[in-house]
Amino acid sequence: MTDEPIVPTRSRGKIQADVREELDAWIDERAAELIGEGTSPENAREQARREFGDAAATERYCAGQDTAADRRIRVRIWLEEFFADMRIAARTLARTPTIAVVVLLTFGIGVGATTAVFSAIHSLLLRPLPYPDENAVVQIPSVTNGEIGPGAQLSATALVALRERTTSFSAVGGAGWGGYALVENGEPEVVSGGRVTANMFDVLGTRAAIGRTLIAGDDSSGAAPVVVLSHGLWQRRFGGDSSIVGRTIDLSGAMRTVVGVMPPRFRLPTMEETEIWVPLDLAPVLRDVNRAQRFRFMRLFAREKPGVTHDAARADVDRTMLALAKEFPASFEGIGATVRSVRTAVVGDTSARLLVLMGAAAFVLLIACANIAGLLLARALSRRHETTVRIALGAGRRRLIRQFLAEGAVLSLSGGAIGLAIAALGVAALRRITVSSVPDGTTFAIEPQVLAFAMVITAAGGLLFSLVPAFAATRGAHTTLRQREGSGATSRSQARMRLGLITGQLAVSVALLVAAGLFLRSMHRLTTLDLGYSTERILTFDVGLPLSRYGTAAKQDIFWDALHEQLRAVPGVVAVGSAGNLPLGGGAGASLSIEGRIVEGERPPESRYASVSDDYFETLGIPLVRGRMFSSIDHDDGPNVVIISNTLAKRFWPAGDPIGVRVKIGPDPSVPWSTIIGVVGDVRFGAAGEYMPTVYASARQDHWGGGAVLVRTAGDPVALTAGVRDAVKRVDPILPIANVQTLDQYRDATQVVADRRLQLQLMLVFAIAALLLSAIGVYGTSAYSVEARRREFGIRMALGAPRSRVLMLALRDGARAAVIGVLLGVPLSLLLASQLRELLFQVQPFDPATVAVVLAVLGLVVLAASVGPARRATRVDPVRAMRSD
């Protein structure tokens, strides 16, 4: 009885042979039976074969089944052996913990940094917008001088024209800003609201979570006043009361019925701070032809009809705007519009910047991989001797490579796990530090796509970690039996490779550090930029005067005078001023007509415009250049007066005196003339804008019904917040004030500054990661190199070389590599910086000071990292070193 088991893995030929043998046995048995029954032997075999059935088909079928079974077993065996290899690899790594820890940390940092940034990018760029079928939703921003205007706003006439004369859109809606005083359920608060055409929700497509959105007719004159609330406001002020629909609430003195609440993530695109939406009745604006054409107060959004492309829509819009410019040149000359997807509008051009950061993250990952590859390579090369022997003793090359793969798998999986942990920490940190810089509602979280991305990197890393050392160790193994580790040619090429990697790492680190340095300087320049006025020690807040109680100019004047007086009386207050709007907010625009300089058909010059209190200039530290400031003699019944800024004066009266000249502000020709009584210094608009020509009117003559109040203090402005609030209450106990902050805080919160801060923070993370990794890399390489050259150092010292010489020898190669790396890094940094040129503020891509600082810092780090191992070189015991062969 020869009982042998079927060998688990058989070749194709063997499988077929086995099947054939088995089927033949059946035929033999049957033939034997037939012979026993009397059939002749030849006939018996024939008959048995016939009785069997289709032998050829059966053979094929059985062989197929066996092959499939065989394959499964092969795979199972391979996996079992692979896991066994992984366990062995883990044990081996545990015996040299330094390398393992270094690799894990390095890979972890690399994966962590890239994943964190990727998740930020994913959140910011790819997050789904709350508009169903968002590809059809577009913004129609205004275009002046070839660029999208900062406000991107258009007038009512433009909206009507785009509605009636284009064929690309199923709906075109407009949205303007409004501030509303909400006195319901607690502290009076000014809520930012959107005044929207009733079809705006049709444009965006989002349905209400409770109740309804606005419907056609809500925005016609005489319709019942309604309002739609945001989810956030509903939770915050109304406690998520489910019976909110149908309730009437008091908004700035007018009652409105709540008809619906929007779902949690809904925002009005580009107007994300608005929390309530009221219908916008265009009829009154359209009745006044001038206002209809020139008052650009709305952002327009539209929904493209199915099948319409952005390009087609754009052409349609262009045509309409050109037609308008022909019909009403005075209002529309030079004003165009374009079409951009709502995603581009919302995400803005941050995409380009974030991609740059992604590039930086990739650099860091590259450094990390270079580090690790270097270390593992070194290790593999030193084990070449052992590997060679094993191959000579019969170990299959594939088997060895599988062992390297197992080691790579262990390293990359554990490193990847660490990386994910670091990424989670990084994302949490990002969330905290960017809370002011990113659009509300962005949640940084590790999404499935991000996780998949991390796994891909991990897998790629794993392959790299296994294959590079694998091939290095087994290449030409059969010929290198004679060579021993640390001897002659191999050690030199090993050393060259290691040093090459260090050089590369340092070059990339230089580039990243320089970029970070440039960002730092940009940030500094931005925050210390001279705006033309002082932002130090000034507290500011907004007020809106409800028409119900402040319907007349006289009542408003009384309020402002009382407010200024009360505020000045607060101890610690140095000066008080107010204005309809502040330069940091961008200011309002108006056209200016100068008496004696009107040319028929020509567009009047544009300038910034503000209505300010008497002490406004003094409070902000804006100097008076000529003439006088506003005072109480400029009252409502008296002649209209204005003050202009220096650039305006220089532009139109380069040699003369503007004082006494008469001008008109705004598009309405029936407005009376105003006389220029003074010239003041210029201010920048926005946090980083240009000095702009500005016209100021006195608040006593142009009543805006609200605005910003500025309180200059002797000490810390924040400390006086309570005092300021009390002062306001003394004048009007139920008047809400909003946005109480210092002017510095306001500046820091503007988009320009906040954007940069985010970039800076992210770039710093990378630069520091790169620095850390380079330090680790340098340390690891020097340690390894010293270890490899033990014998050499031992011999030298035995032959009488002084310690200092050994030290220098140990440092020499590393220092040379470092210098080369750093020198390579400078042009690389120039390359990187020139790519980032648009993100820099008043800083040149090649900034010698920054480069010098970076080189110094890096030099110190490299020195520190290599000193440790180098000193160990001097402590080598010569006798032991020579014996450890």
Binding site: M1, T2, D3, E4, P5, I6, D18, V19, E21, E22, L23, A25, W26, I27, D28, E29, R30, A32, E51, F52, G53, D54, A55, A57, T58, Y61, C62, Q65, D66, A68, A69
Partner: protein, 113 residues
């Protein structure tokens, strides 16, 4: 209703399982066993038999090894695995219910159960 060739395959499969459950044996012996036990009613064709055997082995319900037959020939001997044992119980059960149901429908008499 399972289609006829599946039902046929299933029949061969369950017969094989039942046979090797009683005693490990090689293909020819299995066919002989079935023929004898069914008193000549069921003859399994060689092709169908071996296709069934290899299919069941791929599914892990039976396993094989080389051995010698009573006549001294080198043959492949099949044996039941634990999974096969469980499958056999399920299949036999299902078959019995099927047979009973068919018999009941075919029984003479009124339509009453």
């Amino acid at each position: 209703m399972t289609n006829p060739s599946e039902r046929l395959q299933g029949t061969v499969d369950v017969l094989i399982l039942r046979t090797v459950a009683w005693k490990p044996m090689h293909g020819y012996a299995i066919a002989a066993f079935v023929r004898d036990r069914s008193r000549g009613e069921l003859t399994v064709e060689g092709a169908a038999l071996y296709q069934g055997l290899h299919r069941l082995e791929r599914k892990g319900l039976i396993r094989s090894k080389w051995g010698t037959s009573e006549t001294g020939r080198k043959v492949r001997i099949y044996d039941l695995t634990a999974t096969g044992r469980a499958q056999l119980a399920a299949e036999a059960d299902s078959w019995k219910r099927y047979a009973t149901a068919v018999t009941r429908v075919l029984a003479p008499g009124s339509g009453k159960p």
